[in-house]
Symmetry: C2
Subunit: 203 residues, 2 copies
Amino acid sequence: MVKSEKDNTRDRILGAAKKVFQSKGMAGARMQDIADEAGINKALLHYYFSSKAKLFEVIFKEAFSQFFPKINAAIDADIPLEDKIRFFCSEYIDMMKQNPFLPLFVLYEMNSRPKQFAKEMWHNRQSPLQRFTIQIEKEVKKKNIRAVNPTELFINMLSMLVFPFVGKPLWMAASGMDELAFNQFMEERKTSIPNFIIESLNK
Amino acid sequence: MVKSEKDNTRDRILGAAKKVFQSKGMAGARMQDIADEAGINKALLHYYFSSKAKLFEVIFKEAFSQFFPKINAAIDADIPLEDKIRFFCSEYIDMMKQNPFLPLFVLYEMNSRPKQFAKEMWHNRQSPLQRFTIQIEKEVKKKNIRAVNPTELFINMLSMLVFPFVGKPLWMAASGMDELAFNQFMEERKTSIPNFIIESLNK
DNA sequence: GTCTATAACTCGATAGAC
DNA sequence: GTCTATCGAGTTATAGAC
């Protein structure tokens, strides 16, 4: 076990805060919950992070940014479009399996502060959607795929990847799936979603 | 203007509570906010609904149940499958346009109490998914459509309908759409989503 | 039914000892 | 750096007048 990285108080706080904020949200989380989870007391939280808002900001930014490296890596990879889509879907589902509360947390807090959020979002870089669009248009021009609306394609793909996770209690209650069956279901979607998408691109 | 229905205090409270709870969530909402919105004082809230939790429960159940009459009506309609899908997508998008906070509110609060939620959900009736599954299997048997996994089809459709609404700030920041463009975009999806789905069913 | 006033409690934040 | 103790603001809920 590596100690130097994980065993200092600051990192324990961050780990605890991540867990509590992601499951209860900013408004629902209590500093006491975070302190308990980290095995320390409230005063020490304020010693490391001066306020609840500051601590939340750190956690939210980290959670939000976690969504994009994978998108960017997939978009920029020097492989055929079809492989990119397969790669991206598989990686994204893995990430959400490991962080099941992440999507709803980000969506909820983002919608609570849409204005503030819009400003800081891409730090003046090109958005993944813009870069995806350029690539799709190139493929259309080369007649490798039929003419499609790239925004629509992008949103459809992300919808089918993310929504099953945020609606999980719904599917479980409606179909009788348990935790294990749900995970198996998402595992199968690593291929069924790309198949569905790619099929629609072949004229 | 109809007065008898809307102008009594109880209904004013319910309207105010719906607005506040849906935009701020259970944890973020304040009884004072609801009282202000309704134009009354806090004490009167407790006179009509004994506690915040009770009032929330009424609002949540109403919001949750709002999702399903349309699904059921579409599933049970005596029209061809293709028409059902088109009808359902169009109605569902209209509903979410009129209640933009509804989907995220329900998803978030549902995920906060997945256990309690699972019990009460369908009141022992057949879930929409189960009824949808029966219909799809019938169509497959008649060879009207190719063999598909009904659960997957159902979740894909719902994903593409709902997720664009909960991720709205994301698309707006990523693509530069404004409110008007977003509404136009969703209007177009009333046809593009069914097209996408139906196409995948024709072998 | 509706209000004002306030009790009872929760929670973020700080003071100060070690 | 870490703790205990406590303050003070904000919140749910109730008492009681009208």
